[in-house]
Amino acid sequence: MANNIIVVIIVTSLATYLSRFLGVVSAEKIKETSKMFRWFNCLAYSTLAALIARMIIFPSGSLNEVDYLIRFIVVFLAIVIFYLTKKNLVYPTLLSGIILSLFNIYL
């Protein structure tokens, strides 16, 4: 390991805090009723949607080893469970993990 772990952690946390800090600085000048706010609101939601889609479609790490079709079936089932349980978030999250593990073992 080339770098000291504590220094790496501090560098990582500073790089992360920077965006949060600059966000607060910018937010001080933006009214929640302004067009600018609505634009940033759209950017935030679309960036998150892009991130989530990437996590499912082009995952890094262990999900990569699961077939596309299985991943999509699990996402679809989770969404169905979410609506069937009147938007309960605990069931779809918990069941998706179990279903995927089982699919991966037995398919």
């Binding site: 992360t16 600059l22 960036t47 479609i57 779809p92």
Partner: protein
Amino acid sequence: MINTKYFYKGFKSIKGVGSPAIALAASFVAIGALLKSLGFTVEESIFSTLLTYALPGSLVMAESMLIGASLINIFLAVWLVNARLYPMTVALMPLLLHENQPRWKYYLSCHFIAVSSWLIMKNNYEVIEKKNRIDFWIGIGTATWTVAILATVVGYIASDFLNKDVLIGLAIINPIYFTCMMLSAMKTIQITLSVTLGAIIGPMFYFLSPEWCILFGGFFAGTIAFLIGEKNGK
């Protein structure tokens, strides 16, 4: 200093049907196991989640360390992958800012901005009066942050028991939670379009640049959604 009534109200967001605890714990358990495999001590793993508290950033840190990247490269890679926190902060803080509240609360509590806490706040802020929203937010942030830190420790300790199949199951839980939260948030034309277009355009940009696809895709999708929404009365 902090209104405890609203703090606890926010803190309690980790309980109940909308709880982010399982999803958060699943991903930070995996991070704990990953950090152990990289040679972190348990204290260093706790320190990492405590100070960074943003999953993609921790993953990039781990990947960069594996390839022996320099500190400046680690800084740039983490900054890039966590740059989404900037629009997220700008889209949240104006809802919490109140003239009677001290500024330090905002600069400290922005550390709690991560996908799950942000989505919970965005889905619930309207029921809290503006003056008390920052304390409610600090409650949500403290709760989700605590879950993340505890899960990191559990993952670190349990790493020997986490085989490939369990890790795969853990890896899907977080994106599923986020997907369901995003579906609940789709209440206006702008947000519905932002989410739908972001999920389509973001992965398309992956073929041009895997590093920049989220920011580029998000920027284009969000801007198109904003313009269409403005024309159609939001």
